[in-house]
Amino acid sequence: MSNQIRRELPRDPEVRALILQAQGLHLSRRKLLAGAGGLGLAGLLAACGTGGGGGGGATATTAAVTDISATDKNVFWANWTLYLDYDDKTKQYPTLQEFTKRTGIEAHYVEDIDGNDTYYGKVQGQLAAGQDIGQDIITLTDWMAGRVIRQGYTQKLDHANIPNIKNLLPALQKVDFDPGRENSLTWQSGYAGIAWNKAKYPKGLRTVSDLWNPDLKGRITVLDEMRDTIGLLMLDDGVDIASAWGDAEFTKATDMLTKQINDGQIRQVKGNSYKEDFISGDAIAGIVWSGDIVQMNFENDDQWEFVIPEAGCTLWSDNMMVPIASPRKTNAEKLMNFYYEPDIAAQVAAYVNFISPVHGAKEAMEKIDPSLVSNPLIFPSDTDLAKAHVFRSLNADEETKYNSQFQTAIGA
């Protein structure tokens, strides 16, 4: 974050201090809380504050927020790591520079989100109290987006400010956690599927069950995202994860997971760090995210192959939302609108290698990098999309129950 700020503000420290002050104190407070949140303290204190306030609970207290976008030409955006086009030479985000050039709005981009759960743990207390968390856009995965929208932690988007929303791919227009996309807009999408090291396992994989082959014992990693790992296991069992399945189907999948962990077939259950195990060779195959494999192959001589399992894969998206109490919603909407221009979306896709949600990005890609146009992991074919399923939304009770069950299954 500090890099980002330093880059975009004048060099003179005094001027910089003045500007930061003028932007409001939320920045330093936010950083401070984020730091404490790493220890879980901020969240805990905040959570207590909520409960102590007469059992107000997790639903946000709505307060009228005045939009200061007209006078305050800034927008603060929290996103995941390696998720926006970045120029190593200039240490800048080219599309953000373009945005500032066109609109005069300074974009302050931070790679603050390293997990849906940890980020939620950090900011939930403030959101519940209806406080500004210092970000105008947060980017969270479908299920977590569903949770924060349901809890009233986001602001309604004014589609009049986002005319480019017409470019949103049809498949993403109607999502069950946000009908009509009133509170969220897709940033990028991707699959969770299976991948293997081509040199070490030449026979390859076709289904999730192939991962349980004895010759892969102890060389498998699976994701610690419940919806992806359990989703793939349930699909392998023939369950439609988008429709109304219940405890029996879920438990069958977690039992399978526990069995494979206890038998030593699955070496580890991991988040983003599974990539290191693939690169070090500890893992030969596993359940992975599609974009990671594209990036890893780019950096490590095309060692791995990703496929959508025959029974289908999960499709997830990360969604941009404006948190409650953000006073720069219009600026945030302008930024969303900007990234829904096909040319800009193609620039991002060329860097992040995930599925672009923007209609027309594929055509725009011809001009940027024609070799990527035919990459099915960035611009999926209709047959691939037909095999991609979205894990159904869970209500609060189900979410707690299944999360707990999954954490127990993975020994945590």
């Binding site: 969240g43 805990l44 204190l45 409960g51 059992g55 760090s273 020994g411 945590a412």
Partner: protein
């Protein structure tokens, strides 16, 4: 007993000799002392007592029926404790066993190193300086990165596993990462400096003429070590074991990076997953509180059993 009695008598005698002014000055000094500890106490109250109280009250919160995720109301739900103990007693046990093994291993490795630097190299300041810097150097880089580096070193394709497989210590499909062994090694490695530095500080003050005296009285070097050096260095050993055991018992970085999902989970990991993943704030708080009490109890027993007066 007799010593304290005489000391007491002496104190009385001197007190009688002091003038009124001296006594008043003494009292003033006492008051100044009190004022001086106020900032420290305030700091403790704010940053230790308050969070512990918050933790304690949170651990008794209840989830109202039909509540949203993360919604809890103040209550006195003591069953939070029984629930988490029933579910995770094994993990507690494992954490303490791992921490204990790591502490013993760190002692066995750390003591000779501290002895080498503090006693054998005494007078050779350059060598001492270089070795001390080497001992402290790991602190200059990130804890997580160092643990991550071990993952690479111990990886299946790495040199250690390759050699161990070649000499048949490991079976052909055996591995080191994702095992309890790797977790304990990581704990030992990461907390070794905490063991070594207090022992070094203690041995540095060891009067070597005592060792000569022991030799003059025909004690073998081994006997000298166990009868003279080791007993004299016990305060350092004591401080080192505490400084190693306490953080090791609550650690979760080593277990999550070097462990697996079957039989290496440590309590820190569970607290993390209850808090962030399951969003069970009361359960996570109860676990933290139990961990704190257990460590406190173990440390108290340890101090009572082995504690040296010089330390406390």
């Amino acid at each position: 007993m007799t010593a304290t009695a005489t000391r007491g008598q002496k104190k009385h005698a001197t007190e009688d000799l002091r003038s009124e002014e001296e006594i008043a000055a003494e009292k003033r000094k006492g008051r100044v002392g009190l004022y001086l500890i106020i900032p420290g106490m305030a700091f403790l109250a704010l940053f230790f007592a308050a969070p512990v109280l918050v933790l304690l009250s949170m651990s008794l919160y209840a989830k109202p029926p039909g509540a949203e995720i993360g919604e809890f109301v103040p209550a006195l739900q003591f069953s939070n404790y029984t629930t988490v103990i029933a579910a995770y007693w094994e993990v507690f046990l494992r954490s303490f066993v791992f921490a204990f093994i790591a502490t013993v291993a760190a002692l066995l490795i750390g003591y000779p190193m501290a002895y080498l630097v503090a006693v054998r190299l005494r007078g050779r300041q350059l060598m001492q300086g270089i070795l001390l810097v080497l001992l402290i150097a790991p602190f200059f880089s990130s804890f997580i990165l160092r643990t991550q580096a071990w993952k690479q070193i111990l990886s299946d394709e790495g040199p250690v596993v390759t050699v161990l497989r070649a000499i048949a210590i490991l079976p052909p499909d055996g591995h080191l990462t994702a095992t309890a062994f790797a977790v304990v090694c990581g704990l030992t490695y990461n907390f070794l400096p905490f063991m070594m530095l207090p022992i070094y500080a203690n041995l540095d003050r060891l009067d070597t003429s005592l060792l000569e005296a022991s030799g003059d009285l025909y004690a073998s070097p081994i006997k000298t070590f166990f009868k003279v050096t080791l007993p004299l260095s016990m305060p350092g050993v004591f401080a080192g074991t505490l400084l190693t055991f306490i953080p090791a018992a609550g650690d979760y970085v080593n277990a999550s990076l070097l462990g697996n999902n079957r039989d290496t989970a440590m309590i820190g990991q569970i607290i993390d997953s209850r808090f962030f993943k399951v969003v069970d704030y009361p359960g996570a708080s109860a676990l933290s509180f139990i961990l704190m009490i257990l460590i406190l109890a173990l440390v108290l027993i340890y101090i009572k059993r082995f504690g040296t007066k010089e330390l406390f």
